[in-house]
Structures are given as structure tokens and as C-alpha cells.
Symmetry: C2
Subunit: 220 residues, 2 copies
DNA sequence: TAGATTGTTAATCGATTAACAATC
DNA sequence: TAGATTGTTAATCGATTAACAATC
């Protein structure tokens, strides 16, 4: 029960979901305890890093024993805010919006999608992943009645700005951004970007490097 | 024209697509030249970092002038391998597969989707984003006839392993992984993960932190 | 030429790893 | 108790920033 103050680095935070995932796997396999060493071998990171990361949030382990899988899984979930019952809305009911609405992973981790918004009359009134699709023009009113925490942006680039402004005005505090543009939001709103084409370009670079390497001295 | 050897850090690579994006924007606005300082202000990074990053690949600028936007845009594109005509295939013709097949951003950056694969007889023979959907059972044969460089994984977790093995056997050298599981691939294959639920969990943490901060001493 | 801005070296900062005493 | 493994401090490594001479 240390920390309290000391700001925790974002690189540590970004590793937590991966730990959470592996612990969930262990839990499925009915494994009760794990040492940082064993976990580090499974995950291809150093045991030191695992221990350092976890100790940012408190001493979850026990000397000579390791970590209790179920407890650690639970604790990391709490740290990540998975027990806060965050409500999400999705802007855009295209293929991507549908994919996200149907994605079981979100619900399973405690996020509840309460509305999807689009401007296409053919879609409005329909459903995606069991959630109703509303007119995006009514999003502001909807948020007044049904406060939400997280907004997911699955709209075309040109609609992004207007939708973001409306969401922020409506009290949304976090944005998951699939749009190609970077967002400009007030200080009290956080953004997490998922730039698909950035990922593909990075991959492209890496593929090219690999091919180059295997051509010349690939032996060693 | 330095480098040649000296391995370039992945953190640098991951910034290139963002530079590329901003330069494309400037190009659209018909801006001819830009200094590292101006660009740094637009992008919210330090000018020093931009210069350091670019100098990993060569001296693209000119003292007293800055960088030629068009030239730099072109050069970064080359570095990223966007002029290699990489062919991609998509596994999974669900909503996500459709979203990716329809995503103009990929084609615009020089990636060509040559096939989509699914196991659902109702989908096989159809199209997504103008590309034919084939039986995933025929993927191996397809790759023999139509070599591809990059495979995009938009299949459910349980199908992932089999699909990956088939892709690797078929000569795919890079995987864009949307699946929840981490992949186990040979040394000469690279993987770029897009874990949507990881992003959402990170966002969840950040939202929680912000809320905490605005509650207590949010004034300063 | 004078002014501007790069390319690059050196200084700082932060993140990772190693080591080990504390302790279950 | 002896063995194992944590929590934590110290050492190393890498990434970012600052500074400035080179030069367009």
C-alpha cells in the first residue's frame, strides 16, 4: 500500500492490460499461483519488470510464494477501472461501429455500450450488437438523459470534429479514436488513439527490414 | 546519407507514420517548406526530437531553410516501404474484416488487398470493399498462385492459430493482429498487434485518474 | 553578408535490468 | 529451519532534450 502519490508512467499502464490478459488465461487453466519468473517466461519480459510494474500499485505478492493468480487478476482489473461500470457510446454505425458493438471483449471487461449514433436514416432505429442506433443529431439530448463516460469514434474523418465537440459537451471523459485525425480536446478529457494505418505502415517498415536482413548476412 | 548500419529504434519508427500524416496535411494545404520548430508546435513534440528522428535516415533538411514538405513526405513514405506495392490478404469477413476491406486509408498508402477469406458459406463468393471473399480452406492454394506480403487477422480467437500457421506457410512476412491472443511466429515474420480491448482498458485507467484528479486538488 | 535552421554532440532524464536483503 | 521469491535499491541502458558549431 505504497504509492498514493508518485505519478505512474504511461508505459507501465500500457503493460497492465497484457498482464491482465495472461492472468485471465492462467485463471482459465485453473492455475492458482505464479512467480514473476514463470510469468516472465510466458510473456517474454523480465521478471524484474513485472515486479517493478506491480509494485507501483502495491505489494500483491508474497515472498517465497509468488502471486495468487486470482487475486492479482482482480487487483489489476480494479486498477484499470474495470469495476467502475463505465458506460460507452459509439459514434458511427458503419462496419467498424458494428464490429465494435458486437465485440464481446468490451462487455466482458465491464464496459456497457448504451447507444450507437449515425446520420444515415436507413440505419437509425436499427440495432447493432443488441444496441439501438440513434440519430447522431440527438446525441446531445441522449447524453443528458443517459450520461456516458467513454465515446468511441468510428466515423469518417470529416465528421470527427463535430462529433467530438458534441461528446465533450455531453460530459464524455474519454475518447477511443479510430479516426485518422488527431483530436483537440479540453484538459479534462483523455484520448486513446487507434490509428490502423499507422500500425500498417509500421508493419510495412518492419517487413521491409526483415526482408533486407534475410537477403544480406541473414546467417547470423 | 549516414546510417546504413546502426539499428534504428522502434520508438522512432512508430513516430514516422504520424510525421507522414502531418506532412500529408501540409501538402494538402499547399505548404512548401516547414522547419522542425513549426512542425514541432503543430505536433506537440520537441523540434529536437523531429530532427533526431529524421537524421536516423539521412539529412533531408537544409540549414537556414528547413525541410521541403513534398520531398520529406516522399522520403518518409519510402522509408516506411509504401512504394513496395505490398499485397495484403484479410482473414475474416465479419464486420471488422469488412471495415478493413473498405478502409480507403490502406489502398491510399500503397497496400493492395488481393483476397479475403472466411469459412462461412454464405459469405464465400461474395465481396467486401470490391475484393472477393474466398473459402479460408483454399487460402494456402491461393497464396501459392498469388503471393502476398501482409496478412490481416480479423478472425475469432479460436481460429487464429490455424490461420496464422497457414499464412506463414504461404509466405506471409507480416501480420496485423486484431485478435485477442498474442501470436507465436517464426523469426522471419513480424507482428504488429492492435488489441482493441487493451486500448479500451488503458483509456479506462486514464479516465479514472482524470476523475480522481479533478476531485481532489484539481485547481492547479 | 547576416539570419535562420539544420545536423550532431553532449547533458539530462526516464525506463529497464541486476542484485540482494527482507521475509514468507 | 532452509528455500524461494518478493519488494526495493542501485547500476545500466536507452531515449529525449539542450546546445551549438556548421552551413545554406
Amino acid at each position: 500500500m505504497r504509492n498514493m502519490n508518485k505519478k505512474i508512467s504511461l508505459v507501465v499502464i500500457r503493460r497492465l492490460p497484457r498482464y491482465y490478459r495472461y492472468l485471465g488465461e492462467l485463471l482459465n487453466q485453473n492455475i492458482k499461483r505464479i512467480s514473476s519468473k514463470e510469468l516472465s517466461e510466458k510473456m517474454n519480459v523480465t521478471a524484474s519488470q513485472i515486479r517493478q510494474d506491480l509494485n507501483c500499485f502495491g505489494g500483491f505478492g508474497q515472498q517465497g510464494y509468488g502471486y495468487n493468480v486470482e487475486e492479482l487478476y482482480y487487483e489489476i482489473g480494479t486498477i484499470l477501472g474495470l469495476r467502475n461500470g463505465y458506460k460507452t457510446i459509439i459514434a458511427g454505425a458503419g462496419y467498424l461501429g458494428h464490429a465494435l458493438a458486437n465485440y464481446a471483449g468490451f462487455e466482458k471487461r465491464g464496459f456497457k455500450t448504451i447507444g450507437i449514433f449515425d446520420s444515415d436514416p436507413a440505419k437509425i432505429g436499427g440495432q447493432a450488437g443488441g444496441v439501438t442506433i440513434y440519430n447522431v443529431a440527438d446525441m446531445g439530448d441522449f447524453l443528458k438523459e443517459n450520461p456516458a463516460d467513454i465515446g468511441i469514434l468510428a466515423v469518417p474523418k470529416m465528421s470527427t470534429k463535430a462529433v467530438v465537440d458534441e461528446m465533450v459537451k455531453g460530459g464524455i471523459k474519454g475518447l477511443l479514436n479510430f479516426s485518422y485525425v488527431d483530436l483537440d480536446v479540453p484538459d479534462d478529457v483523455v484520448v486513446e488513439n487507434v490509428h490502423l494505418s499507422d500500425s500498417l505502415m509500421t508493419l510495412s517498415y518492419l517487413v521491409r527490414e526483415k526482408k533486407k536482413m534475410s537477403k544480406d548476412g541473414g546467417g547470423l
